[in-house]
C-alpha cells in the first residue's frame, strides 16, 4: 500500500477535522469554532458554500451518521447529534454513562482525548489518544454500550474512517507517521505518510481509494490516493 497526495487546497480557516459529503467538504474553524462548508473541491480553489448552523462544542471532531452531523468534543469526550438544518443539538454520548462490559475503560481517563470519529454500519467509532491505551472504540449509541475495542496502531491516532465498500478501517497515526488499513479478516496494510503531509488531522472517504485529511501545519486539506 502506498499513499500519494494528489491535491492540496487551502482552507479559509485551519481545521483539525474533516467531513466529506458528496461534493462538499465540511470543516471546523479552529479559531472561530464555526462549521464551514466548502463546495467544488474538484476545482483549484475551494469555494465557501451556504452557512452551516452554529454548534456549542469547542475543539470538535466531525462525522455523519447518514442523517445528522455527529460532533465530538475532543477533551471531555461528549458527543452530540446535530441537525444540519436547524442546528438542534442532542447529547448522544458521554463517557461516564457508557457500559464498557469487559472492554478497557481508557475512554474514562481524564487525560484521554479524541483524535477522530467515524460512523460505520450503524455504530459510532472513536479514535482515542490515551498514551499506551490509545484505542479505537465502537459504540452502540442507542444502547450506550461499547461493542468494539482494539488498540490503536500508535499513541496519536488523528484520523479514522471506514471504506464502506469492504468495511476496512483506516487509521492515521501522527507519531508513527503511518496510515494503516485493517480488514475484518485480520489483514493489516501499512504505508508511510509522505513527508509533505506534516501534521495529519482527520480522515474522510470521498470514494474507494481516495480520502481527504487536513495538514495542521499548513492549514490545508489534502486529497490522498491509496495505491496498492
Amino acid at each position: 500500500m502506498k499513499v500519494i497526495i494528489d491535491r492540496r487546497l487551502t482552507l479559509q480557516e485551519r481545521s483539525g477535522t474533516i467531513l466529506v459529503r458528496g461534493t462538499e467538504i465540511w470543516t471546523y474553524g479552529a479559531k472561530t469554532s464555526k462549521l464551514l462548508r466548502y463546495t467544488r473541491f474538484q476545482d483549484r480553489e475551494l469555494t465557501l458554500g451556504a452557512p452551516l448552523p452554529s454548534i456549542s462544542t469547542k475543539d470538535a471532531a466531525l462525522s455523519w451518521d447518514g442523517n445528522n452531523l455527529l460532533v465530538a468534543n475532543r477533551s471531555n469526550r461528549k458527543v452530540f447529534r446535530v441537525d444540519p438544518a436547524s442546528g438542534q443539538e442532542t447529547l448522544v454520548m458521554e463517557p461516564g454513562s457508557l457500559s464498557f462490559g469487559d472492554y478497557d475503560t481508557a475512554l474514562l481517563a481524564v487525560d484521554t482525548v479524541i483524535g477522530d470519529i467515524a460512523w460505520y454500519n450503524s455504530l459510532f467509532y472513536l479514535a482515542v489518544q490515551a498514551g499506551y491505551s490509545s484505542a479505537i472504540y465502537g459504540i452502540d449509541l442507542g444502547k450506550k454500550r461499547v461493542v468494539f475495542h482494539r488498540l490503536a496502531p500508535g499513541p496519536k491516532p488523528w484520523g479514522l474512517d471506514f471504506n464502506s465498500a469492504d468495511g476496512s478501517m483506516y487509521i492515521v497515526d501522527n507519531r508513527n507517521r503511518e496510515l494503516r488499513r485493517f480488514f475484518n479478516a485480520g489483514k493489516v496494510d501499512v504505508a508511510d505518510l509522505p513527508s509533505e503531509w506534516v501534521e495529519p488531522r482527520g480522515l474522510s472517504f470521498e470514494t474507494e481509494g481516495r480520502l481527504w485529511s487536513t495538514d495542521w501545519s499548513t492549514g490545508d486539506v489534502l486529497r490522498i490516493r491509496v495505491e496498492e
Binding site: 469487559d102 481517563a109 498514551g131 499506551y132 491505551s133 488498540l151 496502531p153 499513541p155 507519531r175
Partner: protein
C-alpha cells in the same frame, strides 16, 4: 547469598505501532548489566518470543547480537518463569531469601471489572493472547523467595498493581495512577535520534533509565543522587522521575512501612579499608563505616578495581569475583563473561 535476578516483560509487538516495546527492553537489560546484573540472571519475555527487527529502525543498539528474548510474553510464560525461579525448575536458578529480584513491565495496561458487572475495577497488564490481572500477577510473583524486590511498571493504570504487590521488602514504582494512562516520550529533550530517525521510548522509562545510568539517552548527565552520597537509592530514582517527566499521569510509589527505598540501590559498594566490593544491599555494607564506603557505579568500574587495584568480591554477595575461594584466572574469566553479557 545475595544474587541479583531480573525479569523483564514487554507484552505487545513493536510492529503494532510501538517500537519502544522492544527498545526499552534492550535499554533496561543494558542498564542492569551495567549495574552488575549477570546477563544470565536476566530473563526477557517480549512479544511473540523473538527480538524486533525492522528496516525502519536500523540502529545497531537496538539489534542485540545475540538475541535477548527468552520467551514470548504470554500469561502462561510469565507464570512458568516465575514458578521456575521460585522452584529452580527447567534449568533455571532458584532464588533464595538472600536474593534481589528486579521486575520491569511494559505494554498497554487497562482496568476491567473485578468480576462481571462489578463497578470495582482491577488493573491489568497487556500480554500476547490476553491480559494479566494484578492479583494473578501478584500470586505468581509472590511465590519467589527474595531478600528485596524492586518493581517498575511503565504500562497504563499500573498504580492499581501496588496494593497487590506492596510489602516491607518491596519497592514498587509505577508510571501512572490506577485510573490514568501512561505515555511515550514527547518533548524535544527526550528525542533520541539516530540516523535521522526518532526512536521513541516510554516517558517513565526514559527518566528511570537516566536516573539509574547517570545520563539520559541523549547523553546528557542525569544526577538522581539528591543527597550526594554517591548511592542513588530507589527513593531518589522515584523523586528524579517525578521531578523530570512531563506525563499527565503521576508516578506512584510504595516502599513499605520501613521505607526500604531510602536505602536500597543497585550500586556496588567498595570498602576502601578491606578492599572488598559488595552489592549495595549486602548485610556487610550495613556494618561498614561510612568513611570507608566508595560507590562503584558500573560493572566496568568494578572490573577496574578487581583487575588493577586488587579489590576482591565479597564471599557472600559477589562470590564470582572472590579470590579467596576462586583462582585469579577464574575471577578474571567471570568478569570477562559478565562484561560481555
Amino acid at each position: 547469598m545475595g544474587q541479583r535476578y531480573a525479569v523483564l516483560i514487554s507484552g505487545d509487538l513493536a510492529e503494532n505501532g510501538y517500537p519502544e516495546f522492544f527498545f526499552d527492553v534492550v535499554l533496561m537489560r543494558e542498564m542492569l548489566i551495567g549495574n552488575g546484573f549477570p546477563a544470565n540472571h536476566i530473563f526477557v519475555l517480549y512479544g511473540d518470543g523473538a527480538d524486533y527487527n525492522s528496516a525502519n529502525y536500523p540502529a545497531a543498539r537496538y539489534r542485540p547480537n545475540p538475541a535477548i528474548t527468552d520467551l514470548s510474553a504470554t500469561m502462561a510464560n510469565i507464570q512458568a518463569i516465575l514458578s521456575d525461579l521460585a522452584n529452580g525448575t527447567n534449568g533455571r536458578p532458584q532464588l533464595t531469601n538472600d536474593d534481589l529480584l528486579f521486575v520491569w513491565t511494559f505494554d498497554h495496561g487497562s482496568q476491567i471489572p473485578i468480576s462481571p458487572g462489578s463497578a470495582t475495577l482491577i488493573s491489568t497488564l497487556g500480554l500476547r493472547g490476553g491480559d494479566m490481572r494484578a492479583d494473578d500477577f501478584a500470586t505468581a510473583i509472590n511465590l519467589i523467595p527474595h531478600a528485596f524486590r524492586i518493581i517498575y511498571m511503565q504500562q497504563c493504570r499500573s498504580g492499581g498493581f501496588i496494593p497487590h504487590l506492596a510489602t516491607d521488602r518491596t519497592v514498587i514504582v509505577t508510571a501512572a495512577e490506577a485510573d490514568r494512562n501512561a505515555h511515550p516520550t514527547d518533548d524535544v529533550a527526550e528525542r533520541e535520534t539516530i540516523g535521522g530517525r526518532i526512536y521513541p521510548h516510554g516517558e517513565f522509562n526514559f527518566y528511570l533509565l537516566a536516573a539509574l545510568n547517570g545520563q539520559n539517552l541523549l547523553g546528557n548527565a542525569a544526577n538522581a543522587d539528591a543527597n550526594g552520597d554517591g548511592f542513588t537509592t530507589m527513593g531518589e530514582v522515584f523523586d528524579y522521575i517525578v521531578n523530570h517527566e512531563s506525563d499527565s499521569a503521576t508516578p506512584q510509589y510504595d516502599d513499605g512501612s520501613r521505607h526500604l527505598g531510602e536505602r536500597l540501590h543497585l550500586i556496588h559498594v567498595a570498602n576502601t579499608n578491606t578492599k572488598e566490593i559488595h552489592i549495595g544491599y549486602c548485610y556487610w555494607v550495613t556494618q561498614m563505616a561510612d568513611s570507608n564506603k566508595a560507590p562503584c557505579n558500573s560493572l566496568e568500574e568494578l572490573a577496574i578495581l578487581v583487575r588493577e587495584s586488587g579489590y576482591n568480591g565479597c564471599f557472600y554477595c559477589l562470590p564470582r569475583y572472590d579470590r579467596d575461594t576462586l583462582s585469579e584466572q577464574q575471577v578474571l574469566a567471570n568478569l570477562e563473561e559478565d562484561l560481555t553479557g
